[in-house]
Symmetry: D2
Subunit: 237 residues, 4 copies
């Protein structure tokens, strides 16, 4: 485990972009799994800027979303919509290089990833409750591979998704499980801001427990955590 504390969000974003760019420039097929949400927006702006100034064969770069919440009556779910807006639709990606995990294919997606050569890099944020991908406390366990979680209108999870979007979430949501994530060759976890300080203390320095799902990420042989000073404020080591 490598832990890096940056002066600010901009540096965190630049370092995350560096790790992604490194993979894109390799002379081999590269399978990336990038996160939606607010944390990566700075990283995406840098990637988009750099890709506009680079002329190279991108056919080796493949993308896999690591979770999805279907939206009623929409072609793309919450994650894919966000990824398309923030990154995919702003750079050139061939259809054949976008590999969509969804509620239809989640039972065969671990096998697909294996046959595609495995995920080279997953870039993830951490929720204030300690979730990663959609491994929510109480709804995941360390032995899970990709799985689906059915939900109903009254459920907490329904509400929390509802708060993110004005669209109607449709059960079930799907996600890479802990073992799918930990089977990746490299993990990058980033977090910024005061509101992440408490959970990052638990994730990095507390017990490894399913109550804080992201705590398991510390066990990966090739994981880097990048935190800005605010998110790292409560760390002791």
């Amino acid at each position: 485990m490598k832990k890096i504390i940056t002066k600010d969000y901009a540096t965190m974003s630049e370092l995350a972009a560096a790790i992604v760019l490194d993979k894109m420039m390799l002379s081999k097929r590269v399978n990336l799994s990038l996160t939606a949400g607010n944390t990566p927006l700075g990283m995406y702006e840098i990637l988009i800027d750099k890709l506009q100034k680079m002329n190279f064969d991108r056919s080796n770069i493949h993308y896999y979303n690591f979770d999805e919440v279907p939206l009623a009556g929409e072609r793309y779910g919450l994650t894919m919509s966000a990824l398309k807006t923030a990154f995919y639709d702003r750079v050139h990606i061939d259809d054949g290089n976008l590999h969509e995990l969804n509620a239809q294919n989640n039972q065969v997606f671990d096998q697909k990833i294996l046959q595609d050569g495995g995920i080279d890099l997953i870039v993830m944020g951490i929720g204030e409750d300690g979730h990663f991908c959609a491994n929510m406390p109480g709804h995941t366990s360390f032995e899970r591979e990709i799985f689906a979680v059915p939900f109903e209108e009254g459920d907490e999870i329904y509400q929390s998704i509802k708060n993110l979007t004005d669209k109607e979430p449709a059960s079930p949501y799907v996600t890479f499980g802990p073992r799918t994530v930990l089977a990746s060759k490299q993990l990058l976890v980033f977090a910024d801001g005061k509101k992440k300080a408490e959970i990052m203390k638990k994730v990095l320095e507390g017990p490894i427990t399913e109550e804080i799902p992201a705590s398991i990420l510390r066990t990966h042989p090739n994981v880097t955590f990048i935190l800005d000073e605010e998110a790292a404020a409560l760390l002791e080591n």
Copy 2:
């Protein structure tokens, strides 16, 4: 995770030996961490036989013991003594290529491993209580790196060691913790015989929990389990 079920102990031993030989023949420094005990004896006989028929530069092959129980008044502890008898003293190994973990250096050994380039392969058996290395249920937790466990004459651990040897164990014993093991590039776990069937069912198909320490090994991105038919008898998948 890869799971292989072999017809018998001999095949299990040959496959384990193949994985170790593959590493020995690489054109790079290779750091190996091999197990003492009964399970590997067949593997060591094969390795010794092959090494006698091979002429090559072995200066790239380094060995690290992953646990140790000091023995009162002895130069080497329980693990190193067993490794020397079963393997080290029967093949040519330069002193500079043997890296001994013991009760004196365990606090700096994780850093030493990092500086030495990391462990490339750990070969481990599993105890009937689900322990790996010396991560005994109730005496380890998933977030541990290398650690020492003090014990006294009345303790269960003292007795179980006493039953293995006629020598006097000396506190504390030391071991790679779960995070040290999981930081290795490759893990090989093997088990044979009826008496391992129940624990292997738990390790491979039960919950990932500190009560069965070896259950965490399933999360490693490059782990292979080799079981003979008897040890695999209770597996469902």
Copy 3:
């Protein structure tokens, strides 16, 4: 570069089999490129024996032939026929895991390999003229990727193939070029017998030159040469 000299052909074959078995047991997709010819026959017998005693999911193991000479009126060329007889047809391999290079697809096969994740291991013998795969002296250059070589009935190449089989070779033959081979993650080169001693001296200790195509293999970052004592008899270092 790692060089291993074995007492005999049997040990050479066992070590080669160990390297292949190691790859087969990894928990990831593995793309293998194995050789036809006489040198590997001992290795294949070991692999077939071991695979019969192993119960495991082989869906991650993929095979790519690295050269081919079409045979007039036959479904399979010289290489695929030999591989099927020696190995493929004697172990279970799903059609989807056999990737045939031939005179029809050779222009897109480098791109296919890239998209399939690259070759993890190529196992090769060396011809007495220093060729590897079908990179014959005078008919290859170091900058080539996969290429086709047309030939006619009078040509030396035609005759040498004719001597190997009673079937009619059909132009062109195709082969991984030096850059395709060197782009692989690991190379295993083996040679046995007195008749290989002179060429192995040139390959391993002479200048790196297109006149001895296999001399370039020494530059790969992860190449192992396994020679029996007879093939190594003229080496100085």
Copy 4:
């Protein structure tokens, strides 16, 4: 081989810095071999800026210079002096993490690199004559590992060094040979400006020959070339 053409020198430098930063942030020992000269100056400014904004354990990052020309009466030679001025002395590097190749230790340095775990990344420029490191046309061959080249005051090489510095070069100069470079896990080659256009055409699209030493770099399984538009102006593919 991966080839990337950037809009300008600044983007080339940012991408090179990204690849180096990626390595620095890995949770393992990383052995870097970085180049002196003018090409990397932009990259070093970015690295220095980023490192000032990052708080992390750098004890895993090791540096190896890949060539050296001793300077009469000076503690450091031409390369180390330039590296110290441009980078080493401007960021915190412990003495134990700086591994100096020089005229005294060059005969044991390949073995040292092997024992240190190999070089993870070499960052190189290309000379207008096609040299890389100090592999000058006419003074190297592809089978060389680290070697020393004696020279005298009248020699061309003496003059070209003399033109770079007002200090007196002292024979011999030493350099990673082609096989040392190609044994590295990853190579990054960069070039900018019109004056590099002709040689980059030869290096990337001409025959692989000792007359253009850098042409051999195309054969590495993990090599990335980054060129600005001017240096790439004559490329056809």
